[in-house]
Symmetry: C2
Subunit: 354 residues, 2 copies
């Protein structure tokens, strides 16, 4: 019953195909597993542990929803050298918050104390999410991306990110070190989506957030708006859907994540001037002396999801996302891929140097 | 659709109850997440990484099968400071081997490099397993333990473990340190189930295993024999099943794990003289000067599963397990729990002191 693809997307498992005792219309399951990465080091430095709990859920459920799956449940495993109960409790509060945002159930967790493995009081956290999609019966839907439906002229919409999400944090930490700033200094950039939910940070926080707490802004969870948008019909054919594929922009940025949802025959041409490079990325770029090309490979650079939409349906999809509170950019189109060409070409990267 | 119980068992998720678009006869899903624990430190010392991959699968799938669920798929996440490809590859080979033993699909994995989190070249690994059980329709089965069916006189069978499995390794490492032996010295005890599969260990291994490789004997995976045994009908009532509950003996030993499958009204009375304390545990006990009571709480002490069987059906269940290659002990019975009494009483612990 398995159709395993290691890397790229979550793994698929067909219940109906697995065992004749399961009902033939049982859904296909999709599993994802991931950690938060070195963003945890900043959480450790700041003593803020709830936001990375949200990140843990986000990295997994966003990977499921790009396949068209509804996240069902989540499991987390928190590993440390010596358990500090307030830290672990704060972390799990964030996990629970993320699960609420994603509409999935937190059905289990494990806390492991492993002396001799972790430096100082650091911890690691890994989460797994399981989603489902009806692939048989009257409510059947296609697992995305639907590469066979994609064609030249399809429109690329993008959803704004809330910051670097949970990727590129080794580079973030290098840039901060180079800047000479402490994580406890005021952030030298604004975070539009910064909420005061993590105000437990430090006594020195007055009106503006610290650099550390700004960099801990949790990953945006796109599950609920995307699940709604997946129902939007194509404007050209009522029997097909407007959305043909989605890419969750994680490590590797636009350049590595967008091609994974495309057929070999098509290239995504993205116009980097279609949205403003958010202040946090502009600061990282300038302070770290990072080239625009390197930025596009290390970070989401302001867009957390890129979506392939049937040409003519982009207005309907856009307005649904905007009604759900998302910031939407029309960033490009698909065109025929030339021999030897990359699956994602980002034009006007020079606008990020201004 | 969730019926969450944190700790004890895997979390349950009813697909049918979750969403009216899923078929009413879709199965109930069960998820488990766990790591290998400090056994990884011995793997690191020995440079043997495949057996702990098997342990990772075992800890999760054994937790699912005690609920009566068929493990469907597995996901693993390998985290390290700096990736050593041969180490990670060897580890994943073990994970794949464990999945074959458990009859489940390895549908995804993640490898995370996180500089600054792990001491030296240590790594951590977390796995998640998802299983299913038909709880509606013509093939419906009960999620175990079926505490309402348990009664005084029910028989306790136990399945032999292959060693300490993946629990109690902080104590194991302390005892080894106290012994003055190196992990590369010959093991001062025999491991009946020791196979030469991990013979990549060291050049000094001649005929007998090293202490380190003996202690790395992988956790026994009980999935396939238990799934067969769950079909055995009760000898007293053809409409009910012989097996009413199972306990996977992990951290906390018999004393903490057995009561979790029992109703408040019953106590498991286990006779420690019903099986021989295996040589590895006898060595740990003697060398570490560990009391029998502490042994019963830290280790499985030779039994990896304890099973509640309807009185009169124990011969049928036992012969099925033996035909599947398991070593089976009849270790006790259930009786009415007295006020204030523990859920598991281990008698004749003194035989371990001989």
């Amino acid at each position: 019953g398995t159709d395993a693809v290691i890397g790229g997307f979550g793994g698929l498992f067909s219940l109906a195909a697995a065992n004749s005792a399961y009902h033939a219309e049982s859904p296909t399951l999709i599993g994802a597993i991931d950690g938060v990465g070195t963003k945890l080091k900043i959480a450790h430095t700041m003593g803020i542990h709830d936001t990375v709990g949200i990140d843990l859920v986000a990295m997994n459920v966003n990977d499921l929803v790009v396949q068209g799956a509804e996240p069902l449940f989540f499991l987390d495993c928190y590993s440390c050298g010596k358990l500090d109960v307030p830290t672990a409790a704060s972390f799990v509060t964030g996990v629970a918050d993320g699960c609420v945002q994603a509409g999935c159930a937190l059905i289990g967790g494990e806390t492991a104390e492993m002396p001799g493995l972790f430096i100082d009081e650091t911890y690691d956290a890994v989460g797994a999410a399981v989603g489902a999609i009806n692939t048989t019966g009257p409510n059947a839907r296609k697992i995305l991306p639907d590469t066979s439906a994609m064609k030249e002229g399809d429109v690329l919409l993008a959803l704004a990110s809330s910051g670097p999400h949970s990727n590129g944090y080794s580079l973030v930490r290098k840039v901060v070190e180079r800047s000479g700033l402490s994580f406890h200094d005021p952030a030298p950039f604004t975070m539009p989506s910064f909420s005061s939910s993590s105000s437990s940070s430090s006594s020195s926080s007055t009106t503006s957030p610290t650099l550390g707490s700004a960099l801990l802004t949790p990953t945006r969870i796109y599950v609920k708006p995307i699940l709604k948008a997946l129902a939007v019909p194509s404007s050209t054919s009522a029997s097909s859907l407007a959305i043909k594929g989605l890419a969750h922009i994680t490590g590797g940025g636009l350049v590595e994540n967008v091609p994974r949802m495309l057929p070999q025959s098509l290239t995504a041409v993205i116009d980097a001037s279609a949205w403003q490079l958010p202040p946090v990325f502009a600061w990282l770029k300038k302070t770290g002396n990072v080239s625009a090309t390197e930025m596009a490979r290390a970070f989401n650079c302001g867009v957390g999801m890129v979506i392939v939409v049937d040409q003519g349906s982009e207005a309907a999809v856009r307005s649904l996302f905007e009604a759900e509170g998302e910031t939407v950019y029309q960033v490009g189109t698909l065109r025929a891929r030339k021999a030897g060409e990359e699956g994602c070409v980002v034009d006007k990267l020079a606008t990020w140097d201004l």
